[in-house]
């Protein structure tokens, strides 16, 4: 939701980033305020997933220009864990499997690390068990997933639910969901979207990175940005996603300037 006079959570200005000497992000400007839901859309290779990883602090990318402020902090100065502790969350497109570590152990470790950072009370295994089971209901998750190894043998949909469960536990200020809808059937998509909607409130913000409009039927964005070749070429409201769905990405390429004029 767009809230009047809400504070700016994320301010990206002129951000450029490269991997192995190849420039992927070529000057990104983006402002996200609390309460807002943004969608970043684009074809494969447009740089949208790179933007998500760069914001979360992936070490493989080199920042060559620009600034990113997260509330009052210089985000680019922070290690990935400090970004997480400051309230940034990335839901991975391909969550990592960790055989040998029980999901509940991992979730509690992450939860208590963030709690300690916020000066709040940590939970012992029993207290955490009650707490996490309650959160799992939100995502219609089977409690069996607590005892299994982190993401090991989970289906695509189960992995995505597990990501949103972490988001629900860690209560970030800004969540970036990378291709949340990939590999989900319609029922799983609805469940995951419902979870995201319940977590969203006027004090936090969400960035959905997605190729398709489908997800945006269930999590309705306030802003839609279209990325091409490492830049945001168009920004509009939720209707831009619908337009894109019917007319395709070629339409954007051919008509960047006139569409921008029409929307403005």
């Amino acid at each position: 939701m767009i809230v009047n006079n809400s504070k700016t959570l994320l301010l990206v200005q002129g951000l450029r980033a490269s991997i192995n000497g190849t420039e992927i992000l070529k000057g990104i400007d983006l402002t996200v305020k609390s309460g807002e839901i943004h969608a970043i859309m684009g074809l494969n290779g447009s740089g949208k997933s790179t933007l998500a990883k760069v914001l979360a602090g992936h070490a493989a990318y080199e920042i060559t220009a620009g600034t990113v402020r997260f509330e009052d902090k210089d985000l680019l100065e922070l290690a990935p864990e400090d970004r997480a502790r400051a309230g940034l969350f990335l839901a991975f497109q391909y969550p990592i499997e960790i055989p040998g570590v029980a999901n509940t152990q991992f979730l509690r470790l992450a939860y208590n690390t963030i709690q300690a950072q916020r000066g709040k009370e940590e939970l012992d295994p029993l207290e955490f068990d009650d707490f996490v089971r309650e959160k799992m209901k939100l995502l219609d998750m089977n409690p069996d997933f607590l005892d299994r190894s982190v993401n090991e043998g989970f289906s695509g949909g189960e992995k995505k639910r597990n990501e949103i469960l972490q988001m629900a536990l860690l209560e970030p200020k800004l969540s970036i969901l990378d291709e949340m809808d990939s590999g989900l059937d319609i029922d799983a998509l609805k469940t995951v979207a419902n979870g995201v909607n319940q977590i969203a409130n006027k004090d936090n913000a969400t960035i959905l990175v997605t190729h398709y409009q489908r997800l945006l039927d269930y999590v309705v964005p306030d802003f839609v940005h279209i990325m091409q070749s490492g830049s945001i070429v168009l920004t509009g409201g939720k209707e831009l996603a619908l337009e894109l769905e019917t007319r395709g990405y070629d339409w954007v390429t051919a008509n960047k300037r006139s569409i921008a004029g029409a929307i403005a």
Partner: protein
Amino acid sequence: MSETVATDYLDCLLKSWSIKSNEPLSWLNQLRARAIDHVSTQRLPTKRDEEWRFTDISALTRLSFQSAQPHTSLRAQDIEHLYLKEAKNSLVFVDGYYSPQLSTHIDPTVLQIGNLSTFLSTHASILESHFGQYARFDNNVFAALNTAFLHDCALIIAPKNTVIAEPVHLLFIATQSEVTSYPRCLIIGESGSNVTFVEDYVSLQEAAYVTNSVTEISLSANAHARHIRIQRESAQAYHLANCAVSLARGSNYQSVSISLGAQISRYNLNVQLIDEAAECAIDGLALISSNQLADTHTSIDHIKPNGISRQQHKCIVNDKAHAVFNGKIIVRPHAQQTNSSQSSRNLLLSKTAQIDTKPQLEIFADDVKCAHGATVGQLDQEEIFYLQSRGLSEATARSLLTYAFGAEIIDRISVSSLRQQLEQTVLNQTRGNKL
């Protein structure tokens, strides 16, 4: 090293060898005499021997360790922390000598366990038919030495169609320095029996000594055995171990071996599937650091059809440590429909750590399914990033991932108190690695 030195080491041992006249059983003395003959015709292996090319034991030849003498001052409270709470039956050997005071033996009617002297009179024919029959010593100088110098043995006989729920703990404690002990185990699973045993090598001090052990396991038709082997010797110790397993029709052998201690350790595990439809699962983990060397050589020999074997061996190597794995799988001409898989996965935690892994398949049958693979690597950057993105520090992320790598093997240990102890050991050892 020179071979002259190596010969001196054996010469020295040969001189100290004698038949003990107070042991009347001729078959046992004949076995010892045969073994000492083999010692006298062999030499200590060097790196020029294919089977020892990565493992330099020349340091051993510079030591003149005598056979350990009985040492009885140990009290139960001194080793309280070593007992497993699940194990109602435990046989405790101190420097290779059986200690009835430290052992607990609850129910002799169900399970027959004890040491050599308790069984020699009552089970002579069973012992004679199994003892020394599986662990060959004609081409293995350490097995020959063990057999020549053996003075006692941990024995488990799981009677026909009997399921023993609690694990049996075979605890070998080293208390003396500059001695050699010769632990020996014989496990006989009669048909349809089911037994779990923990073979556990520990030290009460950081001393240099040699453990030369031999374990023989014979499973009759449809017998099941779970073998948990923990090597947590002193960091200065030498641990040279041979284990031979014979699997009859439809029998099932599951083994988890964990190597943590010793300056130099070598574990040879030879499993023979001598009849149809036998099955084995062999899991191993070596977790070593500083200047340790841990060498595991395994051989799984499919002799008859329809056998199943699965093997996973993992090494976590830090500092300047060196891990060796050689895993041979043999499928003989008659062993059709064999299903075998083997995986060797290795984690290097420092730039100076070293791993040599050599999976070997020797397949002589044409209708079989065999898969094997080996990986050597460092921790995955994507995995570290994932954990960091959840707020975990890089150091915590590395520890957790290293722990998880080892925990996958430790989780297969069926004795929960032991599992927890080992998980803690892995956590302590993997904390704060840098790569």
